[in-house]
């Protein structure tokens, strides 16, 4: 029996479908959104969210969870709006130290066999505190080049769309196609067999965490590029948004089953859901609840599809 769709395709189907349906609904409610400017406005805040989602997805690939994603992105945004703008060398050094810290966290979590959620929850206070120390009050200024990049107007498609596609392709290549990504996903799938094959699990974890930090740093910098200034609490909701984005995009909490393209689509869907609810004139008081309802519907659909797939396999 030859299957028409591979499981990876099925995994991507639901997020792609839900994004399309939401997009059609938005266009129906607000036809003016169907333009270069409109699309850019709808999606430009999705770029940092998509990057943070990829970072979270990397952590989830090795069966961990990062609860400090929001505060870390806020911290990076503060660094980007101050040090990176005023003294680029020092700013780069601070960010490099942050990447090294993430790698060390990965090693610590593995060596001491600690639950990642506890370690990262603790770290979220550290990052939050550092962000407040750097920028006690909202302020700072985005580096010129970041600002220029984020408001650039490439031909054919708005920056937000092109950036999302690039993020999706680069992370897909890195995690799904490269031989390095196989090891990362192998650690999530069956760490013991990866170890028996002679790989260093510590090294793989450290690399995963460092790579996640790199994506989170890109998220923080691009966020500052959009908002022009930073605030210590600027990205707190990213923690949950990024987890929701991964799950929405077909990823799973354990087992190394992730999909970078899906994660980016998930981030876009979450961003669009907010706009969609505004267009529906739902009061902001109800928006979070309505966003939750959208999540539940999409995840319910996925469960249904998984069950169908399993039944087909048994048949």
């Amino acid at each position: 029996m030859r299957k028409i769709l591979s499981s990876d395709t099925v995994r991507l189907l639901i997020p792609a479908l839900s994004l399309t349906i939401l997009l059609i609904a938005v266009f129906y409610l607000q036809p003016r959104a169907m333009s270069y400017i409109g699309l850019n406005l709808l999606f430009n805040l999705a770029v940092p969210i998509a990057l943070a989602t990829i970072a979270q997805m990397l952590i989830m690939t090795v069966n961990d969870l990062d609860l400090s994603m929001g505060t870390f992105v806020s911290f990076v945004a503060c660094v980007a709006a101050t040090f990176l703008q005023a003294t680029p060398a020092l700013g780069t050094l601070i960010l490099a130290a942050a990447v090294a810290t993430y790698a060390a966290l990965g090693v610590l979590i593995h060596v001491r066999n600690l639950p990642s959620i506890v370690v990262t929850l603790g770290m979220s206070f550290v990052w939050g505190g550092l962000a407040v120390l750097i920028l006690p009050a909202p302020g700072g200024q985005a580096p010129e080049w970041v600002r220029a990049l984020m408001i650039s107007k490439p031909p054919f498609a708005p920056m937000a769309i092109i950036a999302s596609i690039i993020i999706a392709l680069v992370s897909h290549f890195l995690i799904m196609r490269s031989s390095f990504g196989v090891i990362l996903r192998g650690v999530g799938g069956n760490a013991r067999s990866v170890e028996r094959a002679g790989w260093s699990i510590i090294g793989a974890r450290a690399a995963t965490y460092a790579l996640a930090a790199v994506f989170a740093i890109l998220a923080g910098i691009s966020l500052v590029g959009l908002t022009t200034s930073a605030d210590a609490n600027i990205a707190l909701r990213y923690t949950l948004l990024s987890i929701a984005g991964v799950i929405l995009g077909g990823g799973e909490f354990t087992g190394g089953r992730v999909s970078p393209i899906g994660a980016v689509i998930g981030a876009l869907t979450l961003t669009l859901a907010g706009s969609f609810l505004s267009f529906l004139r739902i009061s902001p008081d109800w928006q979070i609840g309505a966003q939750g309802a959208i999540l539940i519907v999409v995840l319910g659909l996925r469960l249904l599809l998984n069950r169908l797939e399993r039944r087909e396999k048994r048949a």
Binding site: S179, G186, G189, N190, S193, R196, W199
Partner: protein, 489 residues
């Protein structure tokens, strides 16, 4: 590989000793594997087969003893060294990453598959090897492992181990490779093993199917209790002499067992034939029934099924019909953060609660004290944390947990793993005592001595009950014969 002028052993392990706590897993084992031979390794549960395999593949460093490769002693022998010298292992429990494709799993096993086009190269390597070992296998190498059947996964794992990427494959350890393959696939594999050996490679074959061992190996090593007890060319063995070599010298039996007449009695627990083959299961009041056979041949599944079919998911009444003593203490036995008393009383909470759902504290304390005295849990106070006890005493608490319930039947999933001999004797006495009072015990054990204590024994092989032994027939010899020679796969 051609024969070198001086023929060195591929690997030689000399006088290896490994102990886990009080248990001596390897007690001075020396094994020498020459190029171009297939060595069969047999022994019952706990004989030390898996431990010596782990020593050879570098996963476990022996506490004493030397390992030499091609005649030179290895200084720091680990997984890396083993792989670099062409030692590969196919494990009994499947060890592929289910979320990755066959190609990607090949990449995990072979570090040198990197750079552009690694997917194409990996697909070619694994595809060719699968075709070579299992012609007509029908496995799509681009599909994720989770979509493959158990037999297909086993085939992939075997093919990965035999595939030559950077270093030549010199020694492949096959641990029960045919357990999930059907007869024709097993024949293909064994034929491949012979051709691999003929080309100068070496294989260590572990199997419970003695026929395979006898026909495929050049030399057979028999292990028992962490020692090599026999090592001879395969031609000098037959099935009976192998089984005899695995058993111990005959020992005196302390208790003469009486076969209780069971005709006309209503069985307490019953179960139909497993997977529609073999014998059915019956347990009568006051019996101690052993489930024997090699580990992982369906005994635990049987216990779990018995438990689930006699309890309910939702409402368990005040009088449960069965209770369970878990084998893996850390996994599903103790509550590590709780006190000894709470660990003991958890199964009997419904009996200890008063109307209104509140717990009867004095009743609970009295229960704890009475069991502490009765089975001699060595602690000054039952309110101490459970982890303050030694493993054997923790296991006693788990026994008390089960015995404190009014359930007439107790199911035990190899509960004596890693328990010292003194504690074992105490628990055996308690079991006998309780059985006299009419309780029924269903006892899966991987240790021969324990199985021989039972009134009646069901021997498992490949998920089915293949033999029922009663009273005086419950002997090591009969059990070994049934578990190795029963239903050949």
């Amino acid at each position: 590989m051609t024969d070198e002028p001086q023929r060195h052993a591929v690997i030689e392990v000399a006088d290896a000793r490994v102990s886990f706590g009080a248990v001596k897993a390897l007690d001075g084992v020396s094994v020498k594997i020459m190029p171009g031979e297939c060595v069969g390794l047999v022994g019952h549960n706990g004989a030390g087969k898996s431990t010596i395999v782990n020593v050879i593949n570098g996963g476990l460093t022996p506490h004493s003893g030397t390992i030499s490769l091609s005649g030179t002693a290895a200084v720091r022998y680990g997984i890396g060294t083993a792989r670099a010298n062409g030692v590969r292992c196919v494990f009994q429990e499947l060890s592929l990453c289910p979320n990755l494709t066959v190609i990607e799993n090949t990449r995990i096993m072979h570090q040198t598959l990197t750079g552009w086009g690694w997917r194409r190269r990996a697909a070619a390597i694994i595809g060719a090897k699968l075709d070579e070992i299992f012609p007509g296998h029908g496995i799509d190498v681009a599909s994720p492992v989770s979509h493959l059947s158990i037999a297909e996964r086993q085939m992939v794992e075997i093919a990965t181990a035999f595939s030559h990427v950077a270093q030549p494959v010199r020694l492949v350890i096959l641990d029960e490779p045919t357990s999930s393959l059907d007869a024709s696939l097993a024949t293909q594999l064994l034929a491949y093993v012979r051709s691999f050996v003929a080309a100068g490679g070496s294989v260590i074959l572990i199997s419970h199917i003695l026929g395979e061992i006898l026909t495929t190996s050049d030399r057979i090593i028999v292990m028992k209790d962490g020692r090599v007890v026999a090592e001879r060319p395969a031609t000098e063995f037959d099935e009976h002499s192998l089984v005899a070599a695995m058993g111990s010298v005959v020992k005196g039996r302390d208790i003469a067992k009486t076969i209780k007449p069971t005709h006309g009695l209503q069985p307490l627990l019953t179960a139909a034939e497993r997977r529609g083959k073999g014998l059915s299961f019956q347990a009568f009041s006051g019996e101690i029934i052993g489930l024997a056979g090699l580990g992982g041949h369906g005994q635990t599944d049987m216990l779990v099924d018995l438990y689930l079919s006699h309890t309910s998911n939702w409402m368990n009444g005040r009088a449960p019909r069965v209770t369970f003593v878990a084998g893996d203490r850390a996994l599903n036995g103790v509550f590590p953060l709780w006190s000894i008393l709470k660990n003991l009383s958890i199964a009997h909470l419904s009996g200890l609660s008063r109307r209104g759902g509140l717990l009867d504290d004095t009743g609970e304390a009295a229960l704890g004290q009475s069991w502490k005295d009765r089975i001699e849990i060595r602690t000054p106070d039952v309110d101490n944390p459970i982890l303050s006890l030694s493993g054997g005493n923790q296991q006693k608490v788990l026994f008390a947990r089960a015995l404190a319930t009014p359930a007439p039947a107790v199911l035990m999933d190899d509960p004596m793993r890693g328990v010292d001999i003194g504690t074992k004797q105490e628990v055996y006495a308690i079991l006998r005592d309780e059985a006299h009072k009419g309780r029924t015990f269903v006892w899966y054990s991987t240790e021969m001595d324990e199985v021989c204590l039972c009134d009646r024994v069901y021997v498992f092989n490949n998920g089915a009950i293949v033999a029922e032994l009663k009273g005086e027939d419950v002997t090591e010899k009969n059990i070994l014969a049934a578990s190795f020679m029963g239903a050949a796969a």
